[in-house]
């Protein structure tokens, strides 16, 4: 009598959760922009046996953006998922994994992230500020002013902009631009940078020191700029994770496709 095929895996079975955890760690470990993503839902899972103790697993995941920048050393478990009212960003990922003798590895992944629709947010929270395009002139002006203000006050290394991660504009009451951006320490002190900023380059990989800044520029009723930057300190990159490309200024648009 042919062996009865195993019942299809349920999306909430422990085996599915284990595969999803490996998948999410792979996605965050191989992403170079934006923020870490957390699992929101296992959409589907399909196991294709290849032979004894050898399965191919096709996984479809719904992820949600957290508040942790991708370069942050904070463990994913400690990263807060952005709430719906903060204008959430969703990630849809399809992955192919292999399980050999119980060990899972990712063979391929394809993800697409996109911000929730502004209409949905406005329906629930009419006054919530919404995400704006990252090359919006107000955003660029705010990031530039904030980084200059920070570098003019710091006694530490001169910081260069790596990427703008997120920006929202509130138009009433008052005109407020709130933005978040990733920075990297350079080989100059802020004082040296005043003399010759062109000479200030990001530190080499073995000394790299990345960080993250948040800034708020109030344009009305009166001009006010707040900026706060935190550097992570040098982190030894994990062996199997490709080192960060040396980006110019990039924009982590929610709407990223990564494979």
């Amino acid at each position: 009598v042919p062996a009865v095929p195993p019942a299809p895996l349920g999306c909430d079975d422990p085996e599915s959760e284990a595969a999803a955890e490996v998948a999410v760690n792979f996605i965050n470990g191989h992403s170079h922009h934006g923020y870490k993503f957390a699992l929101n839902r296992i959409e589907d899972i399909r196991v294709v046996p290849q032979g004894p103790n050898n399965d191919i697993i096709f996984l479809e995941l719904d992820l949600l953006e957290t508040k942790c920048p991708i370069l942050s050393p904070t463990p994913l478990a400690n990263c807060t998922v952005r709430s719906f009212a903060e204008h959430a960003v969703e990630g849809d990922c399809d992955l192919k994994l292999q399980r050999v003798d119980g060990t899972l590895s990712v063979l391929a992944s394809k993800c697409h992230s996109h911000a929730d629709s502004s209409e949905d947010i406005s329906k629930v929270c009419p006054d919530c500020p919404l995400l704006v395009s990252l090359n919006n002139t107000d955003v660029l002006e705010t990031v530039s002013a904030a980084l200059n203000a920070y570098n003019s006050k710091t006694t530490d290394a001169y910081l260069r902009l790596l990427e703008i991660g997120r920006a929202k504009i509130q138009y009433h009451p008052g005109h407020v631009v709130v933005t978040e951006f990733a920075v990297g320490a350079t080989n100059c002190s802020a004082e040296e940078a005043k003399a010759n900023v062109e000479a200030c380059q990001l530190l080499p990989e073995d000394q790299s020191n990345f960080g993250f800044c948040t800034a708020a520029l109030v344009k009305r009723p009166s001009q006010d700029l707040q900026v706060d930057c935190q550097l992570y300190g040098h982190q030894v990159p994990a062996p199997d994770i490709p080192l960060l490309p040396r980006p110019g200024v990039t924009y982590a648009h929610p709407g990223l496709d990564t494979s």
Partner: protein, 38 residues
């Protein structure tokens, strides 16, 4: 004697009686939502 019964009638009789309060198991996928659905 063998009498051919109408399928519907047969199906009716063959249907396994469900215990009172039977709740069908949830579909295997999609899984539970951990934060919120957007």
């Amino acid at each position: 004697s063998v009498a051919k019964r109408a399928v519907a009638e047969a199906a009716q009789h063959d249907k396994v009686p469900r215990p009172v309060g039977f709740v069908p198991p949830p579909p295997p996928c999609p899984g539970k939502i951990r934060h919120f659905d957007i």
